[in-house]
């Protein structure tokens, strides 16, 4: 175990360019997925230069096919689908990243407390179980209908159902680690609980958490698209892949490009994140990949 983690650490920090190349060849999924993600991030950042105004109505150019002026065609209001898809990248990535970070952070705290204190565990885990019993998309819709739709509310609404999954993962790691003799050794040498958690237990959760965070990120992007499709997601003045698809579905048969391009981007993004997640899991925890 110790030698494999050392090996993974050595592999993730290649010392020379030759080593980096070797590492990249062995981890094609991580490299491929990261490259796609990097491109998407660049697109999101450079959106104002890459695309026109995504909200500009041009009633004369309604439902145009993809052409040289409108690469991805136009929608029923004559808005450029290309510009909308490019700007939609921002929303998807922001939501994916924010939800992954928030859900991981909150889930980590909840999981560590539950794994460490039995009384907290019995109370908090029942709450988590209750949250897991509600379908994520329904909970999100309920939260959004209660409050005015905004990006922040969407992020919060998607984060809440993801927390229990992270918390369960962290809790299981904490439970398996806290019985180890080195934790008992730390207790008997007078280490305070907070220090035991941070110094002896938390490092063990990092590898599974990174992997889990990528899955949370991918699922958050999909949930946001689903919510937007149902009309409960990001407000219509902010273009997101979900609400582009939602608006385009009525014209699906005569102008399929309105939903094709955002759908394609959505699929590519989620695929890229999952590739990175799978690759990270394989390098960070070789035991799981061998089992599968």
């Amino acid at each position: 175990m110790a030698s494999t983690t050392a090996g993974a650490a050595a592999a993730t920090t290649p010392s020379s360019s030759k080593g980096a190349l070797k590492w990249a060849r062995r981890n094609k999924t991580i490299v491929g997925g990261s490259l796609i993600l990097l491109t998407l991030v660049v697109i999101a950042i450079l959106a104002p230069w890459l695309a026109g105004d995504p909200l500009q109505f041009e009633p004369t150019n309604r439902l145009k096919r993809p052409s040289e002026t409108f690469w991805f065609g136009t929608d029923q209001f004559g808005r450029d689908v290309y510009s909308r898809v490019i700007y939609g990248t921002r929303i998807s990535l922001i939501i994916g990243l924010c939800v992954a970070v928030l859900a991981t952070a909150i889930g980590l705290v909840v999981g560590v407390l539950c794994g460490f204190y039995k009384t907290v565990d019995t109370i908090l885990m029942r709450v988590m179980d209750g949250m897991m019993a509600i379908p994520a998309i329904l909970l999100a819709i309920a939260l959004i209908t209660l409050m005015k739709a905004s990006l922040l509310i969407v992020i919060v609404a998607i984060t809440i159902p993801e927390i229990p999954r992270v918390a369960r993962l962290v809790r299981s790691v904490v439970l398996s680690v806290r019985g180890r003799p080195y934790i008992e050794a730390a207790i008997s040498s007078g280490t305070r609980n907070g220090r035991i958690m941070v110094r002896h237990i938390l490092p063990n959760t990092v590898a599974p958490l990174i992997v889990q965070a990528t899955y949370v990120c991918a699922s958050a992007i999909l949930t946001e698209a689903g919510l937007s499709f149902l009309g409960a997601g990001t407000p219509p003045e902010i273009p997101s892949w979900g609400n582009i698809i939602s608006l385009g579905r009525t014209f699906f048969q005569i102008s399929p490009w309105i939903i094709f391009f955002p759908g394609l981007c959505l699929a590519i993004t989620v695929l890229a994140i999952n590739l990175v997640g799978d690759g990270l899991r394989d390098t960070l925890d070789p035991r799981i990949s061998r089992r599968m």
Binding site: M1, Y182, E184, A185, A186, I187, S188, S189, G190, R192
Partner: protein, 335 residues
């Protein structure tokens, strides 16, 4: 030695583990892992706890450090009853009582460097910081026979014996008065065992430490112990000075235990006592003397009366009905 101050006084220590069964996990029984154990350890003295697997010797050690909460009894460390302390007060007392664990592989955090591991107790009690901390860690490394340059290495870079030295250095860091060692050498090769035992003996002389040394290995106990307590089914059946116990064992279980240990038989085969049957379940221990089901000298009386641990000769305690104190003050012989 007997006039030295008492470091640890354990009185009537009990640890019962509840057994849960069924859907509602009701408590259906208790495993009486430790059932009324009393002893004292003085400064500079080693008390060995011996017995076969499952007799409760490790549970005694873990209860004293309160890694397991004792069910009943008192544990006095330098006169302070630590069974009643809350967690912060207990943490403060841990400075006086450090532990060395059995498995040198899993008792060291693989993600921390050797220096961090050894220095952790010092940081816990705010005893040293910065350069002073590094200095004290280097000194501890020297004390246990490790090169001070090794502070930046990680546990997997050390051998088993070196790792146990790290564990000992960690225990020594805060200058405790008592070190509880739970089978500290049983995971090591025999040649390394001797080195670690001699290190423990040297450190004891240097720092006047008291040891509670848990072991199942009689050869090890004979080498390191000043006094020995023999445990059977959660009780101490015999407690005596090292020489007395190995020279004139008074409890039939001790006799059997000594007879089972391999020795060179120069003067022809020894008379051996071979125990019949298994150890009874600690969930439902036998009535009367707990050893009566396997005792070769069992009397009808043994099934009814639970023999108390009595001092039958100076410093020699035994719990056996066949060892009443005679008129002369000397114990009567068996049979």
């Amino acid at each position: 030695m007997s006039s030295a101050e008492v470091v640890l006084r354990v009185k009537d220590l009990k640890k019962h583990f509840p057994v849960h069964r069924g859907v509602l996990s009701r408590v259906v029984a208790h495993v009486q892992a430790v059932d009324g154990v009393s002893f004292e350890i003085r400064r500079g003295e080693t008390l060995c706890l011996v017995g076969e697997s499952g007799c409760g010797k490790s549970t005694v050690a873990r209860s004293i450090t309160r890694l397991e909460e004792p069910t009943a009894g008192t544990i006095e460390l330098n006169g302070v009853d630590i069974t009643a302390l809350n967690s912060e007060a207990l943490r403060a007392q841990r400075r006086e009582m450090q532990m060395v664990f059995q498995d040198p592989y899993s008792s060291l955090n693989p993600r921390l460097s050797a220096g961090d591991i050894v220095g952790e107790p010092l940081t816990n009690f705010d005893l040293a910081q910065g350069a002073e901390l590094e200095q004290r860690i280097a000194k501890l490394f020297e004390h246990v026979g490790l090169r001070p340059e090794a502070v930046n290495k990680y546990p997997h870079e050390f051998s088993g014996g070196q790792r146990q030295r790290l564990g000992i250095a960690r225990a020594l860091a805060v200058n405790p008065s008592l070190i509880i060692a739970d089978e500290p050498v049983s995971a090591l090769d025999v040649s390394v065992q001797a080195q670690v035992l001699n290190l423990l003996i040297d450190l004891q002389e240097e720092f006047n430490l008291a040891y509670l040394f848990v072991s199942h290995d009689l050869a090890v106990v004979e080498h390191i112990g000043h006094r020995v307590a023999v445990m059977y089914l959660g009780r101490i059946v015999e407690l005596a000075d090292n020489a007395d116990l190995f020279g004139t064992p008074l409890h039939p279980y001790t006799e059997a235990l000594l007879a089972a240990a391999p020795v060179l038989e120069v003067d022809g085969p020894r008379e051996r006592i071979i125990l019949q049957g298994d150890v009874p379940s600690p969930m439902n221990p036998p009535s009367g003397c707990r050893f009566h089901t396997r005792c070769p000298y069992v009397l009808p009386e043994c099934k009814r009366t639970d023999p108390p641990l009595l001092e039958v000769a100076p410093g020699h305690h035994v719990a056996c009905l066949r060892r009443p104190v005679g008129d002369s003050g000397a114990p009567l012989s068996i049979a």
